[in-house]
Subunit: 418 residues, 2 copies
Amino acid sequence: MMWNELTEVQQQEVQRQLQIIKRGTAEIIPEDALKQKIVQAVVTGKPLKVKLGLDPSAPDIHIGHTVVLQKLRQFQDLGHEVQLIIGDFTGRIGDPTGKSETRKQLTEENVQHNAQTYQTQLSKILDFTKTTFYYNSSWLSALKFDDVLKLAGKVTVARMLERDDFAKRYAANQPIHVHEFFYPLMQGYDSVSLESDIELGGTDQTFNILMGRTLQGAYEMKEGQVAILMPLLEGLDGVQKMSKSLKNYIGIDEAPNEIFGKTMSIPDALMLKYYELTTAVSSEALQELREGLAAGSVHPRDAKLGLAKEYVRMYHGAEAAQEAEQHFITVFQKRALPEDIEEMPISVNLLEAGQISIIKLLVSLGLQTSNAQARRSIEQGAVKINEAKITNIHESLSPQDGDIIQVGKRKFVRIKLG
Amino acid sequence: MMWNELTEVQQQEVQRQLQIIKRGTAEIIPEDALKQKIVQAVVTGKPLKVKLGLDPSAPDIHIGHTVVLQKLRQFQDLGHEVQLIIGDFTGRIGDPTGKSETRKQLTEENVQHNAQTYQTQLSKILDFTKTTFYYNSSWLSALKFDDVLKLAGKVTVARMLERDDFAKRYAANQPIHVHEFFYPLMQGYDSVSLESDIELGGTDQTFNILMGRTLQGAYEMKEGQVAILMPLLEGLDGVQKMSKSLKNYIGIDEAPNEIFGKTMSIPDALMLKYYELTTAVSSEALQELREGLAAGSVHPRDAKLGLAKEYVRMYHGAEAAQEAEQHFITVFQKRALPEDIEEMPISVNLLEAGQISIIKLLVSLGLQTSNAQARRSIEQGAVKINEAKITNIHESLSPQDGDIIQVGKRKFVRIKLG
């Protein structure tokens, strides 16, 4: 279909879809083909089939996973259909060598349970009227040896050894077992079976997804699927890819306060990336936020509060979001203090009408050695009572049991009247 | 079983078997295990299962193939049993990439027909009371994808790439398709299925046969099969491995005269190897022949006539052997002449009482330019009529239609009286 054969409305629709789909992507291979497929969909009214493979052994979805899920949702909002493949065939086999920790064999029951969990969690992000679940055992377990050989005949060993992890292991003389070549082949064959138009994944899935494109071509489909590769999201540590095993994740099924608190701990530098890739915030709002942060008119902490609130809203609703924010402010204040603060008695005899000057208090508690030193600390803003900074050197207080007096970053005492 | 636990008779029997089995072998891996297996067989009276795989696409057996077949026959003569595997599963698949000429897909009918041919031909060498034929499709076509993955999980990619041809192709950036890894795996799995004790093959089969040993171990058999590797037999050219495609072979199903003639064309240097590896001539007789040739008391041509006659006897019987020898002597003489000899008319007017002198004949036919030259040629022994050397310069002949006159190595004419 030539571009010029489209009506202007159709052209605009294609452009609109392309723009939305491209947002935040790391790579689209090949981009031409994506455009061509959208043109086809717009002209024929036939939705595209957009595929995502799910690991049957890890059903706890975290914010890192939602990068691709949000993209799928965008496709659905544009009228396209989503194919979710539960890789139960692979899961049921486990690791034939018995050496891999991450490829434990799953029972039928495990798989069923994990699939249930997926459905519950994914319903929070995807439009289930445009989502179909598949188990790849439906077609893979039916393959016989000769079918498998046919499949294996479509690719070369050299191509396989180009996959990053294989290349590294081969170079380092670490064993790669022959069956491992079949994981990408199976994933690719799923695309052949389902005639997917597009497959989504993180950039670490590039090889596997392009395998689907190759295999579709080899099994004589006119054109192979398009790979849409999303950036990997760094976890709370700001460095490593978010993953359950590294414990640097925010699970979408976690309690509101957990989600909120964890979100507040992400490094400022990553905030815009999280916004762009894992929320439905519009491109315009995102641009505004980006400019606000750059100009200093938006405080990073406020932007992060907004993100945390948005996550809780997405996965637990607006009310829970409100509550979590409130809870966080309280908890956060407590958290700013060390866990075990020494209790220090202060004689009521020192009080005059229940009051004591701040300087006298600091010296009496032994937090400062002289009035002059106490005064300097206050002037430097280093003195806080119950997290509130004291700025007036003449301040008089009514100390209560449990009040926390802080000087600098390290000195804390808890008052005990006696 | 410890050697000392055997009776003396048993020890002698083991030694006898070992000696016969080792004759002519290129390598036995591992040799210890072979001895152990023979001990076991001698003590328990349970015959060993000795396996050979047959290529289902090439049923024409030639002398090169008989190297392993003779070894199998020796095993049978020692009381052991032979497992012949027709690799029909592989044959029916052909080459999934469609690129290999040598892996054409065979129909059920082809396979049946080829198996028939094998049986007919092999019955000339093997003892069919101790031979069982198997089709490897019986177990391989029943494997499903998960079985295949289990099989592939037993070996590493690096091990596969150690196979000589794979290593070379990989280094030269020539494609190796992933399914090719399965040819050795299938061959090895055959040994697992049949619980073979020993597998025979040429040295070019070392990798594949050791794969059977590995897989038997991996599928938890106590000890893997022993590989007995036979030298490759050079063909008629004396350089390349005997093979049908190189047309340097002697087929055992060829006509007696063909077998005889081809055998006479093998280089002298290979004769003893042929004797040792492809005939049932005893080790003593072989030793005698070796010494006779070395001492010059046996002429290589006679030894070769003996070999040729033995082949015809083995594959067509004693009478045919006698006839072929006779025929060869005749044919060989004809063969010394070129195929298309120019016919030259000679006028009967030149004859006197039907006769002509040899010198006049040579000059008249234009084979020599002068009487002096003709005389010199005769004196040098360069002139022949019908293969018989003319030595008398005064000889007178009665030429007949079709007589062949030869001068030197290159000049021939056929006489046409006119």
